[in-house]
């Protein structure tokens, strides 16, 4: 195994703790990242000759701090604070307790998802500093040019500095809302991977896997937060279907037609266990808990026709009341069509269409097309499918929709 592959693996495992620990040490996320990168470069240079140190994470941290102090000296900025930091290093820092490093990771997550940042900046910064991904990897996953992504990260760090955002876990008065932001950033990353909104790939599973890994980390660090466990449950349950969601040619296969034997049963088991952990906290289900419960209904049906659609309708109703959203209403309409038939569902979809809240969203005409087709209204169905094909940004999905339009005769 090459030295660079080994260092990359260590970086993936240690980076959040190293960058978190360094940020707390020097008070500057941007500098912390630079120092960590310098330490990695030094590792790549030294380890092939000197051998890998016994504790590579601690080695990287110490080298990064040494580099930091060299920098302060060069810039003659060895003021009182930096002298203090230098002194701490000379005393040979004791291996910090794992708990303390975990706290740094948590601080890092809350900082990267701070509300002063725009949503896309939160996503980029989280993948970079918490996930340890390179700008190239993030740019490729998010389908933006590397230069754009780098610019986004630079600006995000400047914004954090300008707003003097503290490197801290939020206090109780804002904790709930801030945790909500963290979870929503992770879910956005997951969804970008699960149902790619643009480009030629129906799924970008590596992005979804990364989101799941980060969600597991958050749930471990905040074991008393039901929605953190519920988000893990939701991601595990949806990911269990990855193997069944695409045909060999890459075309998407929808839930009804999926070969359920290709669902990952072990992953379903982990998802159900995570939902149980969320429920066991006894604080009721939030938006992720309800979505995970819906995914669990699908996961536990051996065949499509065994699905408990009445229960799914109830869960969507609860979800719609808790977090009103036209997308949830559309999903509820689909569940209603399965539970009670296409006519009632079409009424709901037409009301949604009339409200205009989903204008431009391809799944609205797509669902409408399905319902019209079931009701034998072929001409209207064809027009709806064509409209959906026109609206989607995903090439694979477009060809499926055009195929459905053509099948209306």
């Amino acid at each position: 195994m090459s030295a660079s592959a080994e260092v990359a693996a260590i970086w993936r495992i240690e980076s959040a703790r190293i960058v978190g620990g360094l940020t707390r040490w020097c008070g500057d996320l941007d500098l912390a990242e630079d120092l960590a990168q310098e330490a990695v470069a030094e590792a790549l240079e030294q380890w092939p000759a000197s051998g890998r140190p016994a504790n590579p994470g601690a080695w990287l941290m110490t080298v990064a701090k040494r580099r930091g102090i060299d920098g302060f000296r060069r810039r003659e900025r060895l003021d009182e604070r930096h002298a203090l930091l230098a002194g701490e290093l000379r005393i040979e820092p004791a291996q910090r307790e794992a708990d303390e490093l975990d706290d740094d990771v948590l601080r890092l997550i809350f900082t990267a998802c701070h509300p002063v940042l725009a949503r896309e900046a939160q996503v980029a910064l989280t993948l970079r500093v918490v996930g340890g991904l390179t700008s190239e990897e993030i740019a490729r996953a998010l389908l933006v040019p590397t230069a754009t992504l780098q610019q986004r990260i630079v600006r995000a760090k400047k914004t954090l500095g300008a707003a003097a955002v503290p490197f801290a876990v939020p206090g109780p008065e804002e904790f709930r809302a801030r945790l909500g932001t963290v979870l929503s950033v992770l879910y956005l990353v997951y969804n970008e991977g699960y149902a790619a909104t643009a480009g030629g790939d129906w799924m970008r599973p590596e992005l979804a896997r990364e989101a799941l890994r980060l969600a597991r980390i958050v749930a471990q660090l905040l074991p008393r937060e039901p929605e953190a466990h519920a988000l893990v449950a939701l991601m595990e349950l949806q990911s269990s279907r990855f193997g069944a969601r695409t045909a060999p040619g890459g075309e998407p296969i929808l839930l009804a037609d999926q070969d359920r034997g290709r669902w990952d049963r072990a992953q379903i088991g982990r998802g159900l266990a995570a939902l149980e952990r969320a429920d066991a906290l006894g604080r009721g289900r939030g938006a992720y808990g309800l979505q995970a419960a819906i995914a669990a209904c699908h996961a536990s049906a051996a065949r499509f026709e065994d699905t408990d659609w009445h229960r799914i309708v109830l869960l969507y109703e609860a979800l719609g009341n808790l977090a009103p959203s036209p997308v949830v209403d559309l999903n509820r309409a689909v569940a209603v069509s399965m539970a009670t038939g296409p006519a009632t569902a079409l009424q709901l979809v037409d009301e949604l269409a009339a409200s205009g809240s989903l204008r431009g969203y391809h799944l609205l005409p797509s669902v409408r097309g399905e319902l019209l087709a079931q009701l034998g209204r072929s001409d209207e169905a064809r027009a709806a499918f064509e409209e959906a094909a026109h609206l989607t940004g995903n090439d694979r999905e477009r060809s499926v929709l055009l195929g459905k339009a053509a099948a209306q005769g």
Binding site: A8, E206, R262, I268, R270
Partner: protein
Amino acid sequence: MKYMLIMRTTDEALAASAELDFEQIIADMGRYNESMINAGVLAGGDGLTPAEEGVVVDFTADAPIVTDGPYGETKELFNGFWILDVKDQAEAVEWAKRAPLGAGDKLEVRRITGVEDFPADNEWIQKEAEWRAAGEGEPKA
């Protein structure tokens, strides 16, 4: 990617570990497992009871021969495993290196096959898919 870390050890190493503080072994192993859980990579794992409690079914002869464990001439005993959900083999190896094991112990790192590793048009692969869908032969969560 899912990888299995397969733990193998020798009679000598097992005998040597009997001298060690059991509480300490449990604590070290617990910390190791916790670090993988915290990193979001541990997907499963278990240890096995001593090989003396097991039996071996040997297919060398025409009919399978069942003998008491351990494996006779085999020097290495399989005594536990972890399943990791990681990015690549390098990350699995990196986690393997961190296991609290000692002289005589080995971890074999093997990728676990997924549905994508088999031809989807094979009759038996399709049957297995049906069994899995029905939840037969699957470990309970």
